[in-house]
Symmetry: C2
């Protein structure tokens, strides 16, 4: 799912989104509640009408965002009191209020209000956050009235496999139509994430979609599909694009690099996106150096198409029973960003949740 | 002509440009010479290939830009020595070098190298600049070798009708395939501009296109078409768009204004552009407040369509012999920006020639 935090996927039109093959986009409850306000979106006919995206939309609950406000929020059993990052005004999010806001925004899939514990955190704290998340999940279910929206629960439990299993078991018993797996890819080691993910999935119902929240690096997406994940969202393709980081089957290139100044190849020769069908690396290099807005559009179009084409091909491989071959072939050619750069990206993501 | 200074019309793709009905775009020799360099554009197959705009392109000669560098340039009879606004490096533009650069960029219409005198300026200085412009025009003609490009001369002469007539007569005698009228809309009164324009046109050949450089406010465009102008370029529609200033038949509105927060109408009800066919003022207001890149794209698409639809309709009125009726009907409904705001816009345009 491309991320459209503020009811727009940054730098692209809904038409361009459809053209890259996006099937569903994500928007954020926290941001839209603060600006323009749920009532404005509701009066406009809901998010689909407001942003003119006629495919499915998922709204995140805002849990991740309010907990990232660390100094500006206070957690109680009832909910979270926080100050707006826009104007400092005070607000209260409860499972009931967040569910109501999401009903007014009108997405097709809405998320339960959860507490995403930071990493690192004491196991005892992570357990408490998980238990609050469970209690809140039940309250979201009770509060939810719109039968045309699917409400997903969110599994928490940090990096502890036993907590992850416990959380998945509990939420599974509540019979949600789908499940988010939250609180991963927030700074932990790759191996810790894999273990926690596996533990969660082992206890989730087989016949419900599993959505790994905030994960989007190509290698992580493939590993997670192998582990049994069905849905992803991440700002990585769009944010990297705006910084000049473009995905290719060989890894990420930075188009601002001087070596591309006269490079007349497309970003990726076998890519079918508007950018690669029409423009050279030299032109994109020029647009980035000249700080032209078209740079962000063309780069975003390519990165979104790269990720979406990747999951389209992975889906085909799943259906043919060839997923692990597909994954291996892809990873043979692909150099992921080095671990240090990954860790920095994560810290940055954590710090700047306002993408 | 939408302005694509750095080989891109800011915030829109070539596809979006074609969709608003653009028939020709302008790019700038000064900017492209400095970055990415004429050799890069040439190796890419010329501007059309580089920026993927397959309609006609006109390149301005860079005269207006280097003369706007005031403190950073020195004029001699041979040409202009100037320092780059990017890195301070020193360069020399001569009629011959500018013609050569434009041949390498490969536009369909290229402009002679001219000296655009500032406003206000002593008549004696304006006369000297005009005479230099005439000598340079002859040198450009001699230097020009590409038969597939039309080289336009540029009439100068400031606000003095006698100089304008003299300039038009001289350049007319050189038999250019078309004529720019430069050095207007640079801060002079509306009446002064009208007189100078009329004087120039009275001496230009009837059967050659006349291009009024840098003019683009709807009311000025209509007045100038009545006066006999055929072509325009201006950053006004695109720059205003990025500041939230949107054209409508009633005048310009600022979409950032709080009154649009819940306004579910399109920017202009009878506009056929992508923006007006799909989005509400409330959504655009939100995008501008949230500083989302899509704001600039949607606003630019609308403003370009507004201006292009205006000249399309004016063209129809010319063919039916109803231009002055058309102009009157349009101006009855339209409130131009007040003179003070206009003057400020001009000063800003003069200061920021890098758009």
């Amino acid at each position: 799912m491309p991320v459209g935090t503020q009811a727009t996927v940054k730098a692209v039109t809904p038409g361009e989104l459809a053209e890259v093959g996006a099937r569903i986009v994500l928007a954020n409850t926290y941001h839209l509640y603060l600006r323009p306000g749920a009532e404005v979106v509701e009066r406009a006919g809901g998010l689909h009408e407001f942003m003119q995206w006629h495919g499915p939309i998922l709204t995140d609950s805002g849990g991740f965002q309010v907990f990232s406000l660390s100094a500006r929020r206070k957690i109680t059993e009832d909910g979270v009191r926080f100050r707006s990052h826009l104007d400092g005004s005070e607000h209260l999010f409860t499972p009931e209020s967040v569910t109501r806001v999401q009903e007014r925004l009108g997405a097709d899939i809405i998320m339960a209000f959860d507490e995403c514990a930071p990493y690192p955190a004491e196991k005892e704290y992570v357990r408490e956050a998980m238990e609050r998340t469970h209690a809140w999940a039940e309250r979201c279910l009770s509060a939810h009235t719109r039968q045309d929206q699917a409400l997903f629960g969110i599994v928490q439990g940090g990096v502890w496999p036993d907590l992850r299993r416990q959380s998945a078991r509990f939420l599974g018993s509540l019979d949600f139509p789908g499940y988010g797996i939250g609180g991963l890819s927030v700074g932990e080691e790759k191996g810790q994430m894999a273990e926690a993910l596996e533990a969660a999935i082992s206890e989730l119902p087989e016949n419900r979609p599993r959505y790994l929240m905030g994960v989007g690096a190509p290698e992580d997406v493939l590993d997670s599909i192998v582990a049994g994940v069905d849905m992803f969202d991440c700002v990585l393709p769009t944010r990297n694009a705006r910084n000049g980081g473009l995905f290719t089957p060989a890894g990420r290139l930075n188009i601002r690099n001087g070596s591309f100044r006269e490079d007349l190849l497309p970003v990726q020769s076998d890519c079918d996106c508007y950018t690669c069908r029409n423009f050279t690396r030299a032109y994109l290099h020029h647009l980035f150096r000249a700080e032209e807005l078209l740079a962000y559009t063309l780069a975003t179009v390519h990165n979104l198409r790269f990720l979406i084409a990747l999951v389209e091909r992975a889906r085909g491989a799943v259906l043919r029973g060839e997923l692990s071959d597909f994954r291996e072939r892809f990873l043979e050619g692909y150099s992921p960003t080095d671990p240090e750069a990954r860790a920095m990206n994560r810290r940055r993501r954590r710090a700047a949740v306002w993408d």
